[in-house]
């Protein structure tokens, strides 16, 4: 059975958080299934706690959005700008334009390899309560989907040949 590169294992550990214990094939002596068992056994507890903390602290509207769509929206406490926080721990925040369309992406996370629910709650509270500090820490990217504001009108301004 092929060995899993240590770099990949390191990424797994980072994704699971500092509390995760991921055994290598050599450590466990039982090959790849040990890794999968470790992922299944450890991660869900932390992730379940994180998701519970998140749900406890979403507004009723945000909770409804999250259950239905897998994301929820927040309003920036200082700019009034709207953001969409999607399930995930990285590259999971969309800045929305005034018509609610994706206009860019933000990426910031709390330090410490936290479970996804904690990351999303930290992102929500940061944008609602200390938005400018969050924006200072964040990396920003153009929207993956569409830059509506720069989009030329379809077939507009074209001179027939």
């Amino acid at each position: 059975m092929a060995r899993i590169p240590s770099r990949l294992l390191d990424l797994f550990r980072r994704a699971l958080g500092s509390g995760a214990r991921v055994a290598t094939a050599r450590e466990s002596g039982r090959g790849r299934p040990a890794l999968l068992r470790a992922l299944a056994a450890v991660a869900p507890q932390a992730h379940a706690r994180g998701l519970r903390l998140l749900r406890e602290n979403l507004s009723a509207e945000q909770r409804g959005q999250h259950e239905k769509y897998g994301y929820f929206e927040v309003v920036g406490g200082q700019t009034g700008r709207q953001y969409r926080i999607k399930n995930g721990a990285q590259m999971n925040i969309e800045m929305l334009d005034t018509r609610g369309r994706p206009a860019g992406e933000l990426c910031f996370v709390p330090e410490g390899g936290l479970p996804v629910g904690d990351v999303m709650l930290a992102q929500k509270l940061a944008l609602e309560l200390f938005e400018q500090d969050a924006l200072k820490a964040a990396n920003t990217f153009p929207s993956r989907y569409h830059n509506w504001s720069l989009d030329p009108p379809p077939f507009g301004n074209q001179t027939p040949a």
Binding site: G19, A46, R49, G50, S59, A89, C107, L114, L121
Partner: protein, 74 residues
């Protein structure tokens, strides 16, 4: 009763304190100071997801305080 909730790799760690007990309040205040000195942000959580508030100093009357680790670009 108050509770301090610290985000960590296990999801969160909770420390309860009795706001009528001086020793318990002093311990909670020390924990608040240590965490904020490390760069954690303290937020008084609202009820049912209502607006919270950033805490600049320890307030024993706050029922639920969440400590968020320092943010960094991802």
């Amino acid at each position: 009763m108050g509770v301090q909730i610290i985000m960590d790799g296990s999801g969160d760690t909770r420390h309860e304190f009795d706001s009528s007990d001086q020793e318990s309040v002093a311990r909670a205040e020390r924990r608040f100071q240590e965490l904020t000195d490390k760069g954690f942000r303290a937020v008084a959580l609202g009820r049912n997801g209502s607006d919270g508030e950033v805490l600049r100093s320890f307030d024993p009357k706050v029922e639920r305080t969440l400590f968020i680790p320092q943010l960094r670009g991802g």
